[in-house]
């Protein structure tokens, strides 16, 4: 009787195990579909957020090239340096209180860089050195290094050389 009981318990346990395994497999399949749905929604939000953000940033008169009011599809290296200096200068933060906060609130950007990748230029921070033509990184905004990163190629115009180079606009932001 006892052995029979043990056997029945064993069979019940086996059935329970098989049932659990089937349940887990079905849960995995279900969550895969849900996960795909979430990923799709996330992608849509990212598309909307970063497209708008990058469009706005590349269209800012503080950064965009223009000659006598006529705008061109490029970023002006002189303006990039000036923008970085104004936003990141400690003295300006005290003078124009909230200049950083305004950009953070408006765009939700944690960090904004333009890295010149072609043709090869020197290595270094363009906001610091005297020789702007031989540096590769324009740091425009630098609040935090965390967040989602989006990179897009941009045309960078050097007015004193009258030349165009290719850079990467790197936007680090969070989805709110």
């Amino acid at each position: 009787m006892n052995k029979k009981g043990q056997l029945e318990i064993g069979i019940t346990m086996m059935i329970l195990l098989v049932f659990l395994i089937l349940l887990i497999i079905s849960l995995i399949v279900y969550f895969q579909f849900t996960y795909q749905g979430i990923k799709e929604t996330r992608q849509e939000i990212l598309d909307e957020k970063f497209s708008t953000l990058v469009n706005t940033i590349t269209g800012l008169p503080e950064l965009k090239c223009s000659t006598r009011g006529a705008e061109r599809e490029c970023l002006d290296a002189e303006r990039l340096v000036a923008f970085g200096k104004v936003v990141n200068n400690v003295a300006n933060i005290n003078t124009y209180r909230g200049i950083k906060d305004n950009y953070l609130e408006e765009f939700g950007v944690n960090r904004l860089d333009v890295e010149v990748v072609y043709p090869d230029v020197g290595v270094g921070d363009c906001n610091q050195g005297e020789y702007r033509e031989s540096c590769e990184n324009f740091n425009l905004i630098s609040f935090k290094n965390t967040g989602l990163k989006y990179t897009t190629p941009v045309s960078v115009y050097y007015p004193d050389e009258n030349k165009y180079k290719i850079g990467k606009l790197i936007v680090t932001a969070e989805i709110n």
Binding site: N2, Q43, L46, S51, Y150, S155, I166
Partner: protein
């Protein structure tokens, strides 16, 4: 006494089976958690809009080499009948470098320029079948350039 021992053994067997099931279930959940966490470690965003392709196309067309810009070099290449004319070597090499430096590792591209029957293409054309296409650039003299990015 004998009956008592058998009952104790039976209950211990039950407890062991329950324990085993719990361990198996926990292991499965731990595995699932590990797989999910491993999938979500990317912080780079890739958009489906043609914004990147348009920006890259614009940057390529503007870039300067000495006194010339890419537009002029590509036009000269197409005027000589496209590849393998020697005039196409410089734009071919420089474009390959530009794509290496601006695109992500998994991205492929197709760059094509046409004028009448002449055609200029970069070798990765066979790898990039479906993707995001930039708005074509048309220049005076019936030149047309297109760029497609594939993930």
């Amino acid at each position: 006494m004998d009956l008592f021992r058998k009952n104790v053994h039976g209950k211990r067997g039950q407890a062991e089976i329950f324990g085993l099931i719990i361990i198996v279930v926990l292991l499965i959940f731990a595995f699932l958690f590990f797989v999910k966490v491993k999938q979500d470690d990317s912080s780079n965003v890739v958009l489906r809009s043609n914004f990147r392709a348009n920006n890259l196309m614009n940057a390529i067309m503007n870039v300067n080499f000495g006194d010339d810009d890419m537009k002029e070099l590509l036009k000269k290449c197409l005027d000589k009948g496209g590849r393998p004319a020697p005039e196409c070597n410089v734009p071919n090499d420089e474009l390959t470098k530009i794509f290496e430096k601006t695109l992500l590792e998994f991205e492929k591209f197709e760059f094509k320029g046409t004028k009448g029957g002449a055609e200029f293409t970069l070798p990765q054309i066979s790898d990039c079948l479906e993707g995001i296409t930039a708005s074509p650039v048309r220049l005076r003299g019936n030149y047309m350039f297109t760029l497609k990015l594939c993930s």
